[in-house]
C-alpha cells in the first residue's frame, strides 16, 4: 500500500468537484436553504476527514459511498450538537415528536432532485446576473472564490462581497422550490437557461481568463444543461436548443487555440480537430429542440453553430445570414449585430457590408474595428490597417493582440 503513489491525492480533488455540489444540495433539501452554510460546513468537514483518513489507510473501495456515510453521520452529529434541529429546523418543518434529525439519504433520485432544485434556487431573479453566475459556479459547480475571481479578472474581495449578497438572498428565498413545483420551474426556467448560457459564454468567449478554468466552465455549463434536458419538467425545446448550441461550440474548443495559446481564427482552424462526437450530439439535441413550434434565441444560435460545422458551399452563408437576421430582430446585442454584418459581407460582398458596419455605432468595441479591418482588406489597405490598430488599442489579452498584429503584418507585406 505504502509504495503506491497515494492515489487519494488525485482522487480527492476530482471527487470534490463531482460530489461537493451534490452533497450540499441534498443537505439543503433536508434542512432548508437558510442553513446552506451549515450544509457546506458539513461537506467540507467530510472532505477534510477523507483527506486525513485516506492518507493514513488508503482510499476505501467505494470512495463516494464512504463520503456519503461520513456526511450523513456528520449531519446527525452536527444537528445534535448544535441543537439546531430542535430549536430551529423542527419548528420550521412543522414536525413534532421526532427524537432525532431525519436520516439524510443519498440515493440517486434524491441527489438528482436536490441538484435540480438547487439550480433553480441559485437562479433567483432577486440576484443580478453576475451574482447568479458566481453563485452557480460556487454552489453548483464547486469552484473556489479564487478560481471565480481569476475567471472574471476581479479581485477576490469583490467576488466575496458579490457572493455574500447573493447568499443572503438565497437564504431568504421563500419561493417554495422545496419540493420542486412545476409552476416555480416554469417561471424560473428562462433565468436558469440564461445563467447556463452566460456561464458557457464566460468560458467560451472570454479569452482573458485562465485557460483550464475556462474549459471547466464550458463543461460545467454542458453538465447543467444536460441535467435540465433529462428531466421531463425542464427538458423543454429551449433547454434542448441551448444544449445543442453548447455541444456545437464545444466541438471547436480544441481547434481554437494553437500550441502557443494564441487564438486561431475560425477559417484557419484545423477542422480535423473538431470533435465529431460533440457535433453529432449537437445534431441530436437540435432535432429534439425542434419538436415543437418554438423558436428561441438558443434555437437560432444553435442553427448558426450547426451551419458552421458544415463544409462551405454556395448557400451556407445565405442560411447563416438569414438566421442572424432573425436573431438580431429577436434580441439585439452588439456582438450579434457585428456577427450579422460579417455574414452579410459573406453573402453581399465587402463593398456593400462596409456601410452596414459603419452604421452600427459600435466604435468603442475592438471587434467593430477588427471587422472593418477585415472588410477594408483588399479595398483600402490604409483604412484596414488603421482599423486593426484601433482594435489592438481596445484589446487587453496579449494573445488576441498578437492575432491582430499578424493581420497588420500580412497587409503590410502585400505589394
Amino acid at each position: 500500500m505504502e509504495e503506491k503513489p497515494s492515489p487519494h491525492q488525485e482522487l480527492l480533488p476530482r471527487l470534490f468537484r463531482l460530489e461537493y455540489a451534490k452533497m450540499t444540495a441534498v443537505l439543503c433539501r433536508h434542512f432548508g436553504l437558510q442553513h446552506i452554510e451549515t450544509a457546506e460546513d458539513i461537506v467540507s468537514d467530510t472532505f477534510l476527514k477523507a483527506a486525513e483518513h485516506w492518507s493514513r489507510s488508503g482510499a476505501p473501495p467505494n470512495p463516494t459511498a464512504w463520503l456519503y456515510t461520513v456526511a450523513k453521520n456528520h449531519a446527525r452529529d452536527h444537528f445534535k450538537r448544535h441543537s439546531l434541529f430542535e430549536t430551529q429546523i423542527k419548528p420550521a418543518l412543522g414536525v413534532d415528536g421526532l427524537e432525532t434529525a431525519p436520516e439524510v439519504d443519498f440515493t440517486e433520485q434524491t441527489i438528482t432532485d436536490s441538484q435540480l432544485a438547487m439550480i433553480f434556487a441559485v437562479c433567483n431573479p432577486a440576484n443580478s446576473t453576475e451574482a447568479q453566475i458566481c453563485l452557480a459556479l460556487q454552489v453548483l459547480c464547486g469552484f473556489s472564490v479564487e478560481e471565480i475571481a481569476g475567471a472574471f479578472l476581479s479581485k477576490t474581495e469583490t467576488i466575496k462581497k458579490r457572493l455574500a449578497r447573493a447568499r443572503a438572498n438565497l437564504r431568504n428565498d421563500r419561493s417554495g422550490i422545496w419540493p420542486l413545483q412545476a409552476a416555480a420551474i416554469q417561471s424560473r426556467l428562462d433565468t436558469v437557461l440564461r445563467t447556463i448560457y452566460l456561464l458557457f459564454n464566460e468560458g467560451y468567449a472570454s479569452r482573458s481568463a485562465h485557460h483550464l478554468i475556462r474549459k471547466d466552465f464550458c463543461s460545467e455549463a454542458m453538465r447543467l444543461a444536460l441535467f435540465l434536458t433529462e428531466n421531463p419538467l425542464t427538458g423543454t425545446p429551449k433547454a434542448n436548443a441551448l444544449l445543442a448550441l453548447i455541444c456545437y461550440q464545444s466541438s471547436r474548443l480544441e481547434a481554437r487555440e494553437d500550441d502557443a495559446g494564441d487564438a486561431v481564427l475560425f477559417e484557419q482552424q484545423d477542422k480535423s480537430r473538431w470533435s465529431k462526437e460533440l457535433i453529432e450530439k449537437g445534431n441530436f439535441y437540435l432535432v429534439e429542440a425542434c419538436s415543437a413550434n418554438e423558436i428561441s434565441k438558443y434555437h437560432l444560435e444553435a442553427a448558426i453553430a450547426y451551419w458552421h460545422t458544415t463544409p462551405t458551399d454556395h448557400d451556407k452563408w445565405k442560411h447563416i445570414l438569414q438566421l442572424y437576421n432573425q436573431l438580431v430582430i429577436l434580441e439585439y446585442s452588439p456582438i450579434t449585430a457585428l456577427n450579422r454584418t460579417f455574414a452579410f459581407a459573406k453573402v453581399h460582398g465587402n463593398h456593400q457590408a462596409i456601410p452596414e458596419a459603419e452604421k452600427l455605432g459600435l466604435s468603442h468595441l475592438n471587434y467593430y474595428h477588427s471587422l472593418l479591418g477585415f472588410l477594408y482588406t483588399g479595398i483600402s489597405t490604409a483604412k484596414a490597417i488603421r482599423h486593426y490598430q484601433k482594435a489592438i488599442a481596445l484589446t487587453r489579452p496579449a494573445a488576441e493582440k498578437r492575432t491582430l498584429a499578424k493581420e497588420i503584418e500580412r497587409l503590410r507585406a502585400q505589394p
Partner: protein, 114 residues
C-alpha cells in the same frame, strides 16, 4: 431618441406572393435596422383579404379602407433621433421599388400635443 411609425401602403391588392429574393431583401432591411438597435417594434404585415371596414350606422363593408385607392400593408416602429433619420431608413425599404409608399409618423407621448 423617439419612436416613429412607418406605415407601408400599396395600391395593388392582388400582388403575387413575394419571391424568396424579395423576402430576403425585406429581412435584410429590417435586420439592418435591428443591428443599429433602432428597431422598436418589428410590427406586423396586414391581410388584404381578411378585412372589413366599419362605418357609423352599422355599415360594414368588405375589404380594407381604400378611400385613396391604397391600403395599408403593414407597419414597423423605429427608434431614431430625428424624423430625417427615420425617413432615411424608410428610403431603403424595397416596397418603394414595387410602387408602394411609406408614411413616417412620430408617435406621441401622453403629454404631447399632435
Amino acid at each position: 431618441m423617439r419612436d416613429f411609425l412607418l406605415i407601408f401602403r400599396n395600391s395593388d391588392t392582388s400582388h403575387p406572393a413575394p419571391t424568396p429574393e424579395q423576402m430576403q431583401e425585406r429581412m435584410n432591411w429590417m435586420a439592418g435596422i435591428a443591428a443599429q438597435n433602432k428597431l422598436a417594434d418589428k410590427g406586423n404585415r396586414l391581410s388584404g383579404s381578411i378585412a372589413k371596414t366599419v362605418r357609423p350606422d352599422d355599415v360594414v363593408t368588405d375589404g380594407p379602407y381604400t378611400e385613396i385607392k391604397e391600403f395599408i400593408l403593414g407597419y414597423v416602429i423605429v427608434k431614431t433621433d430625428t424624423i430625417e433619420e427615420a425617413v432615411d431608413i424608410a428610403k431603403k425599404n424595397p416596397i418603394l421599388k414595387m410602387g408602394g409608399n411609406i408614411e413616417v409618423r412620430a408617435i406621441l407621448t401622453p403629454e404631447e400635443k399632435g
